[in-house]
Symmetry: C2
Subunit: 233 residues, 2 copies
């Protein structure tokens, strides 16, 4: 069984991406990060999900990006809560964490090399997204290019070292909701909100909540997370 | 004053690379990692060096690469101690740590973005070295290419986002010894050994010690670290 390292944040996208890796027959090694984000509910969700899906191993790494700050997720900067779709995706928002996906993929690449895996899955998408630079196809292509020369296997088998799978890259949030639902993912046990309340109650006003709501609405599916908290979108 | 992030391990190469950054007029932000290496003497040396050179800030980040293992530096794998120059640089040795420099540069890139810095210095060299894939010019070029699209400034000023300086890349160890000496670096207060004894006493048999000894010998300079421990090369 071929192994794959799957980045897992515990949200809608990464759980669906991991589900697709499993559907493609990969033995999954899930990787999450305690990077100094405002809350760790998403990590509890990631751990529960990894267990429920029977992944081979789930590692949560500690990397303290608060030492650098520079983001509303890792510094004392307020999280924008406009509740408004129209404001999303024009400028790079303050929730962007400098170099986050490069750092995450670098660790994934290292673990893949140790495991003898040639495949890494990441749940980024560049349609209904916040405009983060490290979610774009050009970024993923450049990282895959780097991976061909960065590792031992890159020297011995140039060009075959690592494939970065981003199966959601061209999908809308609605597509992702439908795909994940078809894969049997319980989205009621995921967390997307940047600033959730008790027990992971979503704020409904941050960009992550707004994009998630748009996805469920356009998919014509009700979000089980809202039902769980007695909320309406 | 322009800012630069300088990777600093506390050895011969990274101290010289940092000295060159200062000589070029950069205000230096030094970055070291407690990554699960066998000893932390090099981090003590890095901290002392950063203080002595008056860098603006020195951050030591904790990232536990032992969670993945796969290297003699981060796993229960014996460090080769041949004491023999002729064995070095043919194959990639077991001291290679998967993705280490990619991970280090990713964090440096993130910090640089927060600082508004466009320059990162790294002390890798591809002459008298152990054959690590992530010390080669092709790797550095691919990382710099990635950096152009990975960050916010990469979106707003494509092609100008970050320069990766590797001033030692084409130098021999002897060149580095002479350059560092000219910069006033006290190599008696650096640590290169993969497996040092008490107070950082070098083993003289690992690849790092052997390459260091070759450098001092070819430069016609005696290594103050050996003098300090009453050793001869």
């Amino acid at each position: 069984m071929k192994r794959a390292v799957c980045l897992l944040s515990g949200g809608l996208d990464s759980t669906t991406s991991l589900g697709i890796a499993q559907e493609q027959g990969f033995e999954v090694y899930a990787l999450s990060f305690r990077y100094g984000q405002r809350h760790t509910i998403e990590l509890d969700k990631a751990a529960d999900f990894a267990r429920a899906r029977g992944v081979k191993q789930h590692v949560i790494l500690d990397i303290d990006l608060r030492r650098f700050g520079g983001s509303a997720l890792t510094d004392d900067i307020a999280i924008p809560k406009t509740g408004d779709e129209a404001t999303i995706g024009h400028d790079i928002p303050v929730t962007y964490v400098p170099a986050r996906n490069t750092i995450f993929l670098s660790f994934a690449m290292g673990w893949a090399e140790v495991l003898g895996a040639r495949d890494v899955f990441v749940g980024v998408n560049a349609q209904d997204y916040s405009g983060y630079p490290d979610c774009r196809p050009a970024f993923l292509a450049a990282f895959e290019n780097l991976a061909q020369v960065a590792t031992k296997v890159g020297v011995t088998e140039a060009g075959q070292a690592l494939k970065i799978h981003a199966p959601l890259i061209a999908m809308s949030k609605a597509d992702i909701v439908l795909r994940g639902t078809a894969l049997g993912i319980d989205f009621g046990e995921t967390s997307s909100c940047y600033d959730p309340g008790e027990q992971g109650k979503p704020c409904l006003q941050c960009d992550a909540c707004v994009l998630r709501a748009k996805g469920f609405r356009q998919a014509g599916v009700s979000d089980p997370l809202l039902t769980k908290f007695g909320l309406s979108s």
